[in-house]
């Protein structure tokens, strides 16, 4: 008995040390900035850091902006509007050309000063589009083309001026420049590292933190980049630790090992905030949870059945309970930060079981099972939401057996009838092209997977992509919403997602309206 007791006490002494690491000052240079550990569910889904391979908003978006930045930034302290980043200003030369002036004196992590050459390289064949001497994996150019379908070239005008030249007119070029996948890397560092493979987990950029170590599926450690153009970073070392269990993340926060815990379940917030010294921040992000249709399923050929399914769902209850009122049912597949392109007054089909029953009756729905494929909590509260939705559908007479799938390939598998499935859509920049066109247009995943198509939608996608007249583009977008959400439904918008981060109360950090955990001086009130 006494032995085990001593053992425990010895353990207590050793364990106590790291808990005070935050207050300690071990650096000889008198660096009194804190070291911070952030427990995340996943660091990188793809196992690498390169933003052209790793594109998961709920994983890499949390840290990517700390390492690499875009020319045009998004205001993480405001409403994600475009603000100067590595470029101080930009102007349209014509419908296909944008010219940007680079911020002078920006230091890269390897000590170089950022020039137009780095920018041109970042959008060049060796880094992005392939061909020539490059030996990029073939998927990288394909992803780059998704981001930049018609980019012709990036011209170096002078040391601090670049021009983006598109092959077709495109009003969304500035948006694309500010989006994920358009981060600027160091030309010299990339070339010295070698090929894509060698660079895929060694990002060198201009961000407030530089990469120290990446252990796939375990941890990512970043150090302050003291010459950061935006000021001296407030944290000495940032460590992202992969802690898959939600309860373990909170436990570690309570015991003082972590200072931040990501992906907090919304309905757990009230219980977590009971603990002394812990608060939960967060809110809506630019991502909508949706359910998509395969309109070739015999019961779903009739659009009235699909519309009925939308009317049957009590989205409000889902938001009020599973999300504890901290998310919302959005106005369709659009976000307010679209600005001029936002269609005011548009709503999702309202919750109306009577209307749903009537529509089903009119369509002659005969109880044919419509399989509902989901994954086990890939999305926040996914299983619970699916169980609620299924119950809603059951109440209006729909028969939608849940099929839990283990991975995407199984969700999209054409063998066995496909009915409806879970999905989510993000807005990567402030124009509907980045969401409804990219996801549901002719090149979007839904049409590519053969779930749905609509000729008018596809014509309108062209108008949105290459049109330059604001009025006509907005009209086209409004019509798209009408088609995709009412006339020939392709998806049901359930709710806008929200993200919550629990943290030690004493740390003066603000949660941006995105997945990004901004530890730049801008995100820290010291």
């Amino acid at each position: 008995m006494s032995i085990s007791r001593r053992l425990l006490l010895a353990g207590a002494g050793a364990a106590a040390l790291p808990r005070f690491a935050i207050a300690q000052n071990t650096s000889p240079a008198g660096d009194d900035r804190p070291e911070i550990t952030i427990a995340v569910a996943k660091i990188s889904n793809s196992g690498v850091l390169d933003p052209l391979r790793e594109q998961s908003s709920n994983a890499s978006e949390r840290w990517l902006g700390s390492i690499q930045e875009t020319l045009i930034a998004r205001n993480q302290q405001g409403r994600l509007e475009r603000v100067p980043g590595l470029a101080t200003n930009w102007r349209r030369i014509d419908e296909t050309t944008v010219e940007l002036s680079l911020r002078p004196g920006v230091k890269l992590h390897n000590g170089d000063t950022l020039t137009a050459e780095d920018v041109a390289f970042s959008f060049g064949p060796e880094r992005m589009f392939g061909g020539g001497r490059s030996n990029l994996p073939a998927d990288i150019p394909a992803v780059a083309r998704r981001h930049w379908p018609h980019l012709a070239r990036v011209e170096v005008v002078d040391r601090l001026t670049v021009r983006f030249v598109n092959a077709t007119p495109d009003v969304t070029m500035e948006g694309r420049i500010s989006a994920g996948g358009s981060e600027i890397c160091s030309r010299r560092a990339w070339t010295e590292n070698g090929d894509w493979q060698a660079n895929s987990s060694k990002l060198v950029g201009t961000g407030p933190y530089k990469l120290r170590e990446f252990r796939p599926d375990a941890s990512l450690t970043l150090d302050a980049h003291d010459e950061y153009w935006g000021g001296r970073p407030p944290i000495k070392t940032l460590r992202f630790l992969e802690v898959p269990e939600a309860a373990s993340r909170i436990n570690g926060l309570r015991s003082g090992e972590y200072q931040f815990a990501c992906d907090v379940q919304p309905d757990a917030i009230d219980d977590i905030e009971v603990y002394p010294g812990i608060e939960v921040l967060g809110g809506l992000v630019l991502n909508h949870r949706i359910i998509t249709f395969d309109k070739h399923h015999p019961a779903l050929v009739d659009p009235r059945v699909r519309l009925a399914m939308a009317h049957a769902i009590d989205g409000r209850s889902i938001v009020d309970t599973l999300w504890d009122g901290r998310a919302r049912v959005p106005p369709g597949l659009q976000w307010e930060f679209y600005g001029d392109m936002f269609v005011k007054g548009w709503t999702v089909p309202p919750y109306d079981p009577a209307a749903a029953r009537e529509l089903l009756n009119d369509a002659g729905y005969d109880g044919t099972p419509i399989p509902y494929r989901i994954r086990k909590d890939y999305y926040p509260e996914e299983t619970a939401t699916a169980e609620v939705v299924t119950e809603c559908w059951k109440l209006v007479g729909l028969n939608t057996p849940i099929e839990v799938k283990e991975n995407w390939a199984q969700v999209l598998d054409k063998a066995g009838p496909r009915g409806v499935r879970d999905w989510s859509n993000s807005a990567v920049f402030d124009d509907p092209v980045s969401s409804i066109v990219n996801q549901h247009g002719p090149n979007g995943a839904q049409q590519q997977d053969g779930e749905w198509t609509n000729a008018e939608m596809n014509t309108l996608s062209g108008v949105l992509e290459s049109g330059t007249d604001v009025g006509k583009r907005k009209q086209a977008f409004a019509r798209m919403l009408q088609i995709c959400e009412r006339e020939d439904p392709t998806y049901i918008v359930l709710n806008q997602n929200a993200v919550f981060t629990a943290k030690r109360r004493e740390l003066p950090w603000r949660q941006p309206p995105s997945f990004f955990l901004d530890f730049s001086p801008r995100g820290w009130e010291s």
Binding site: A247, T321, A384, E387, V388, E391, K394, E403, V404, E406
Partner: protein, 290 residues
């Protein structure tokens, strides 16, 4: 040490009054009650297991501030915990008994075959044992979920694959040992058919260890199922099981422990009961403990 055992030791022990100790009696009653719940599940559950009431989610059970309406409280979707518990007991007992039976019969048979035929039959059985032991169950579960979907019989069959190799190894080892002992040889010399020797003489002699192995399998299957639920590969909604509830209930451990409490208690008590009855049966079957 003497390996000679009188042949008579292989047959049933002499008649003797075996009074069931009160503990075992309680265990039998508990198992009986669980079986009754399982059989009557559809009739005695107060609510449907999918009927949800989002406004009444996470209602505490009686004694923690709850009402009689939901005796054991409600879960994160406002579903009645008691109803789900009842249906889960049925599901888990079905899986656990089914899988344990499959594993024990399969393992013992293969073990006996190996012990009897030796030679290449034994090599094949040993290879299968090594294969089963080397293949992480995660991958087997994945295969079944991917190729066969949420079919309950297949799931039970899959769980039956778990642990058969342990029974097989034990059965083989003990059967070889038993064959070497005098009684089996004696019976064989009397001209008994192999199947009679194994079922009538070897099996009773080694039954005790096998029973313990089987009573260990039972909770293991329940636990394995909850482990698979933990990884997202267990019983899938709308079906429910004890392991499944414990699996998702862990997220509510500090907020709504009642979701996890009742199914955990049922798992522990049922296992304890199965073990006690197993031990008792083992003593009765063990010819050396007369």
């Amino acid at each position: 040490m003497s390996g000679v055992v009188l042949p008579a030791a292989g047959v049933a022990p002499p008649k003797r009054v075996h009074r069931m100790p009160p503990g075992v009696m309680a265990a039998v009653l508990w198992i009986g009650a669980m079986l009754a719940v399982a059989v009557l599940a559809e009739a005695i559950r107060p609510y449907s297991i999918t009927a949800l009431d989002l406004r009444a989610r996470l209602t505490p059970p009686i004694g923690m501030g709850g009402t009689l309406r939901h005796f054991l409280g409600t879960d994160e979707l406002g579903r009645d915990v008691l109803s789900r518990l009842i249906v889960s007991i049925r599901m888990s007992l079905l899986i656990a008994f089914g899988a344990t039976a499959i594993a024990t019969v399969l393992g013992t048979t293969l073990g006996f075959l190996a012990a009897h035929f030796r030679g290449w039959v034994e090599q094949v059985v040993l290879m299968l044992i090594d294969f089963q032991a080397s293949m992480p169950f995660l991958i087997l579960a994945l295969a079944v979920l991917a190729f066969f979907g949420n079919s309950l019989p297949l799931f039970i069959g899959l769980m039956g694959l778990y642990g058969w190799e342990r029974h097989a190894r034990i059965a083989r080892g003990l059967a070889i040992a038993a064959n070497a002992q005098g009684y089996a040889a004696a019976v064989r010399q009397l001209g008994a058919r192999p199947i009679r020797i194994y079922l009538g003489h070897v099996l009773p002699n080694i039954a005790s260890t096998l029973i313990v192995s089987a009573t260990l399998s039972f909770p293991e299957v329940v636990l394995l199922e909850s482990g698979l639920s933990f990884l997202g590969l267990g019983v899938q909604p709308p079906m429910t099981s004890l392991g499944n509830i414990v699996g998702y209930g862990r997220e509510y451990l500090t907020r709504a422990a009642w979701i996890l409490l009742a199914p955990s208690a049922v798992i522990v008590l049922t296992t304890l009961a199965v073990s006690m009855v197993g031990d008792w049966l083992r003593d009765r079957l063990d010819p050396t403990l007369t």
